[in-house]
Symmetry: C2
Subunit: 228 residues, 2 copies
Amino acid sequence: MLDPMSGPRRRAPRQAEAERNDRALLAAAREVLAADGAHASVAAIAARAGVGIGSLYRRYRTKQELFQRLCVLSLDSWNDAAERGLAAQDPWEGLAGFVTACVEFGQGSLAPIAGLIEVTEEMRAKSDRSDELLAALVTRAQEAGAIRPDVTPVDISLLIEQLGSSPVLDQLRRQGREDLLAAAGHARRRIITITLDGLRTIHAGPLPGPAPTERLFTERWEPHPDPA
Amino acid sequence: MLDPMSGPRRRAPRQAEAERNDRALLAAAREVLAADGAHASVAAIAARAGVGIGSLYRRYRTKQELFQRLCVLSLDSWNDAAERGLAAQDPWEGLAGFVTACVEFGQGSLAPIAGLIEVTEEMRAKSDRSDELLAALVTRAQEAGAIRPDVTPVDISLLIEQLGSSPVLDQLRRQGREDLLAAAGHARRRIITITLDGLRTIHAGPLPGPAPTERLFTERWEPHPDPA
DNA sequence: CGGGTTGCGGAGTGAATTGCTCCGTTATAC
DNA sequence: GTATAACGGAGCAATTCACTCCGCAACCCG
């Protein structure tokens, strides 16, 4: 055993690459989780990140550890979005912005791992905080008369989870149909708009973006040439 | 080889049981697909149906054949619901009833197998028919001024698919939390109501059922004692 | 009761997949 | 050049999968 303190501290030579890899891994994990659900494999995550399996396992000792990290980051995003929502002047815009943000950073893709990983103390704490923030957002919107008086924060959570995964989008991604992704994204925003309008006391304007095409719905069923 | 025509045709002795098994298998397949997605295994389906694997494979030569049958039945349900919707006097009630019906018989749970099975001619034909029916439903509701003028039939299809799987409900089922299933069902109906209201030109009444409890959202994360 | 038929259940099989380890290789610092 | 830190991915044991095979039970008719 050598004394680790011997000699002056050296800068890790390839530290920057390691950091980039870490970010790539987390992003890839989110994508693969969205695409494959509970099925998601470590190999797929590493491959998507363009990183060797070995590097993944140097950074995270187990698959569970990676997923726990992902949960913490998602809770942070949730809380950030909630705080931005509370900072908005208009209560409705605040709530709608919050929901949209959660849906868009892929909150829903974490649902499949619920119950499969241990909940850490850190996760629980951040989750408590997120409950408070959401309650505040909802209360404020209701007091302003912007949303139905009988929706509860849990309704909103469930709604975020429901919108948070997009069957069409995820599947097209799984099939590697890059050509349809943009259209699917537009279609999804329309669905979100519709749902959010159902939350309001008053109705808003027209649906955003171009109307979705049939192809979106039918081409998924063509026999799937594995994207590998 | 014996001549199969020798002797008088005999009634199959245990034909009734076979038929019951078939129905159980199809129902189980739907449930397992909803719970496990593309991950769904033949063994799980047979077990859930309370039927041996051997019996499953006598009825359907392959997994794909079972799934294809399931698709055909789902398309039938879809078309039946659409026809009932068109038969309703009120255009809005017709469309809303159709969407609700599709969501409730689990249309969404078939999404994960898109691209994994070959589309048969029968499926394609029934699918064409369903497109016509849906277009008629939407047109009628729009001409009556009941729904936003800019929603398209594809929007509705996507909306059904989005609502057709309930992350919470499916996951609780997977975990065997029978105690929370009713609550999750109520919560889901509230989400559906909200979304459908977002479709309408006018807003409807209050949300149905009891407000969802926190437990619905939190207990899923408790470490999962495998239901086996 | 007995012979014959029909459907049943599930152990077993080979192939594929999984989480993870181990080690030879490559890039950087001095 | 040499030391070091991070890399990629072949390989491993364990599990999972779709599917086969066969012994057994339920039922019919005489």
